[in-house]
């Protein structure tokens, strides 16, 4: 039986969100425009936030020139120009100048990217309605994607997403929601869960859906924060959420990445030579023009001090420094236990955090602090899919390890 396409599936919950562009044909280039942020989220991996390091237009210009003048490193037919911080909208004027420069130079150099580009933002949402941000949105709306991070209900959000003075930010962010949803109706949000707010998980996801945000990209922290019993709490919360989803038939329209139709299976042989993370296939540009395989390898996001530059705007990309990332595979960095795990699929990692957490200076060591949490998620998924089948007669459309229908 042929595999159904996503839009033909009888459910939304648990399906993979198709990103803009065609996956492998799309290059993501991230400008770290500032290392400053007006929030102090408790779980933020940007341990070196500061107000001193900002990208100058000169650096940005040289970066764009290098990128457009070296198609041998950038042969993808589409590009996502991403602006990140800290909080990127703190530097909206710089971003506006950079974006204009990108468009003009892409046109002048007859780059495919003139038509096939997207400007992308992950914002905390607090500055979204400011006039300069709105002016930028209006100017670039045909090629623009903006995500806002709302962690869940007010209690959950204000516990972790706070100002420097410790006050919660929920009210300031949610007041911008109607405008954001009007301008980006299909956009989703990102929610991160740590130990202290697991108890809010079910209510938070339901709350986000009630706010009209139908796509929730949710994850638990990769860091070594989990303690005995946390996995049980996660599993319980997800099962309760599953009950609500089935009770209210929310699976038709709403999605949350805690649920997946492909999670919890052994790895196929062909998967062993792929990598979970795209580090190395994207490019991040630091405030000083240094290149990184991903923003997570820049100094301001490293708690261990193990940054990994792969070149700079003056000397170009160092292809040899990039080689380890292009040859990173499941097999090369995973323990035997992980490779042979019966529920390995869907177990995630961050390549940058792997370097941070490794005992030595290598990217070839996968951090597995979320092991129990992943297994809890698998058990909750198993519960959900079985119940969906029992109640609604809907089968999970996932592939078995042999490649056929499950």
């Amino acid at each position: 039986m042929a595999k159904k396409k996503t839009d033909e599936k009888p459910y939304k919950l648990g399906t993979r969100v198709k990103p803009w562009g065609e996956g492998n044909k799309t290059k993501t280039i991230t400008f770290i425009v500032t290392e400053d942020c007006n929030f102090r989220c408790t779980y933020c991996y940007l341990v070196g936030k500061n107000s001193a390091n900002k990208m100058s237009f000169d650096i940005a210009q040289k970066s764009v020139d290098y990128i457009l003048d070296h198609p041998e490193h950038f042969s993808e037919s589409q590009v996502i120009w991403e602006f990140i911080g800290g909080e990127p909208f703190l530097e909206i004027e710089l971003i506006d100048r950079i974006s204009d420069y990108i468009k003009i130079e892409s046109y002048k150099k007859r780059s495919d990217w003139f038509e096939n580009h997207m400007f992308n933002f992950s914002s905390n949402g607090s500055l979204y309605s400011e006039a300069p941000v709105q002016a930028y949105i209006e100017k670039n709306k045909e090629h623009l994607s903006i995500g806002i991070s709302i962690d869940g209900n007010k209690a959950k959000h204000d516990q972790s997403r706070i100002y420097a003075d410790g006050n919660g930010t929920y009210d300031d962010v949610v007041k911008n929601l109607p405008l954001w949803q009007k301008q980006f109706p299909t956009q989703g949000t990102k929610a991160t869960f740590g130990r202290e707010d697991l108890k809010y998980l079910k209510d938070s996801v339901l709350h986000l859906w009630e706010l009209g945000i139908k796509q929730v990209a949710a994850n638990v922290l990769f860091e070594d924060v989990w303690e005995i019993g946390d996995d049980k709490l996660l599993e319980e919360q997800l099962k309760q959420l599953a009950d609500e989803v089935i009770e209210q038939k929310l699976w038709k329209e709403y999605n949350c990445t805690f649920f997946s139709e492909t999670i919890g299976q052994p790895l196929r042989k062909d998967q062993l030579t792929t990598n979970w993370c795209g580090a190395g296939k994207m490019l991040a540009v630091g405030t000083d023009g240094t290149f990184y395989p991903c923003v997570r390898f820049a100094p301001y996001s490293s708690s261990s001090g193990k940054a990994r530059p792969v070149g700079n705007i003056y000397d170009g990309i160092d292809s040899d420094r990039l080689r380890p990332f292009l040859s990173l595979t499941y097999f090369a960095q995973s323990s035997k236990e992980c490779i042979e795990c019966e529920v390995a699929s869907g177990c995630a990692w961050c390549q940058g955090f792997n370097l941070d957490a490794a005992a030595t200076d290598t990217v070839f060591r996968r951090a597995t602090f979320i092991c129990k949490m992943h297994k809890a998620r698998c058990r909750a998924n198993e519960y959900y899919w079985k119940k969906l089948k029992a109640v609604e007669k809907i089968e999970r459309q996932a592939l078995s390890p042999e490649g056929g229908k499950r």
């Binding site: 996956g23 492998n24 044909k25 198609p71 041998e72 042969s75 993808e76 037919s77 030579t273 792929t274 990994r308 292809s319 040899d320 420094r321 080689r323 380890p324 292009l326 040859s327 990173l328 595979t329 097999f331 090369a332 490794a358 005992a359 030595t360 200076d361 290598t362 990217v363 070839f364 060591r365």
Partner: protein, 328 residues
């Protein structure tokens, strides 16, 4: 593990893919460290190699060493001459000095600067050694130098062809980068840290002497009490994805050069791959040349379409577009 290399001093001859970068005074290995190294080797049934510098050792060192079964790795013109020793010529020019003794194995090092003298030096050295290991000094060798290197290897191949043609039934000359590949059906690499380790003049153990001689990175590569690195698994072939796609079985897979170039023990630089591929290609043509003279040695080496195995990996990746493959 098979061998323990004991580096007797900080001025010991550099016999492999590294150069001495020592600052300060010469450091002779402490006698107690030498003794404990030898004891370790005997306890674990390891072969012993001693790496010498040009200065005669103190008598007690010599007396102790001569009580062991070992191989000496010595600089050229080291006295007393020893036929069984491995003699190191740190520059091609050293081969043209007078009074080169006959040895079983010689190591001939070259750099980008003196590469034009490589073939002459190797051909001359073949008169004095049964086997030559040609080793490149890591000094910024790039793809421009690669073509020059290939030409030097082809000249050497020509000379060795003549030798084989003359001797026919008494073939005994070997050159690592030319003849080894003919007799290999799987990877046969240096395996530093796995098959051999080094005891350095500071009394610490390293995967190989190169890590000791590189002061900038030395402290990160000291072996622990089990004589292993914290990330020991990265030394193993199974964890070297790029290498696993390659058939340059003679390649050293030098982990020191890997670290210097890519920051990872298991990942070679592109130029390392291109050099090994060039050597493999010259070996393949060398064998064909011998076949034309009705001399059959070793096994056929398939023509390799991917000089850099990473290209093969990326090309085979179904997630890469045609344009990306063309860019590769």
């Amino acid at each position: 593990m098979i061998t323990l290399n004991i580096v007797l001093s900080s001025e010991s001859v550099s016999f492999c893919n590294y150069q001495r970068k020592q600052t300060g005074e010469k450091q002779l290995m402490a006698f107690d460290d030498l003794k404990s190294g030898i004891q370790y080797a005997y306890k674990h049934n390891l072969d012993l190699n001693f790496i010498y510098d040009r200065v005669e050792l103190p008598q007690e060192y010599t007396q102790l060493i001569e009580k062991t079964i070992h191989t000496k790795i010595i600089p050229s013109k080291y006295l007393p001459a020893d036929e069984k020793a491995i003699m190191v010529f740190e520059q091609p020019e050293e081969v043209f000095d007078d009074d080169i003794p006959t040895v079983k194995t010689a190591i001939l090092k070259y750099s980008t600067e003196n590469m034009n003298a490589l073939s002459k030096a190797a051909i001359k050295l073949l008169e004095h050694a049964e086997r030559i290991n040609i080793i490149k000094i890591p000094d910024g060798f790039d793809e421009t130098a690669l073509e020059q290197y290939r030409k030097q290897l082809e000249k050497i191949a020509g000379a060795v062809t003549e030798i084989y043609d003359k001797t026919r039934f008494g073939i005994s000359k070997e050159i690592n980068v030319l003849t080894d590949r003919l007799f290999l059906s799987k990877m046969n690499n240096c395996n530093a840290g796995l098959d051999h380790i080094a005891l350095a003049p500071d009394g610490k153990y390293y995967p190989c002497p190169a890590f000791y001689f590189d002061e900038a990175i030395r402290e990160n590569y000291v072996l622990d009490e089990h004589k292993q690195l914290p990330n020991q698994y990265l030394l193993e072939f199974a964890h070297a994805y790029i290498c696993s796609e390659c058939d340059c079985f003679h390649c050293q897979r030098c982990v020191y050069q890997n670290v210097k170039g890519t920051l990872e023990l298991n990942t070679p630089t592109r130029i390392q791959c291109l050099i090994s591929h060039t050597e493999s290609e010259v070996s393949r043509k060398f064998r064909n040349r011998l076949l034309r003279k009705k001399i059959r040695i070793g096994d056929k080496i398939p023509k390799n379409e991917y000089p850099d195995p990473l290209d093969k990996i990326l090309y085979a990746n179904p997630f890469f577009t045609k344009k990306q493959k063309e860019a590769v």
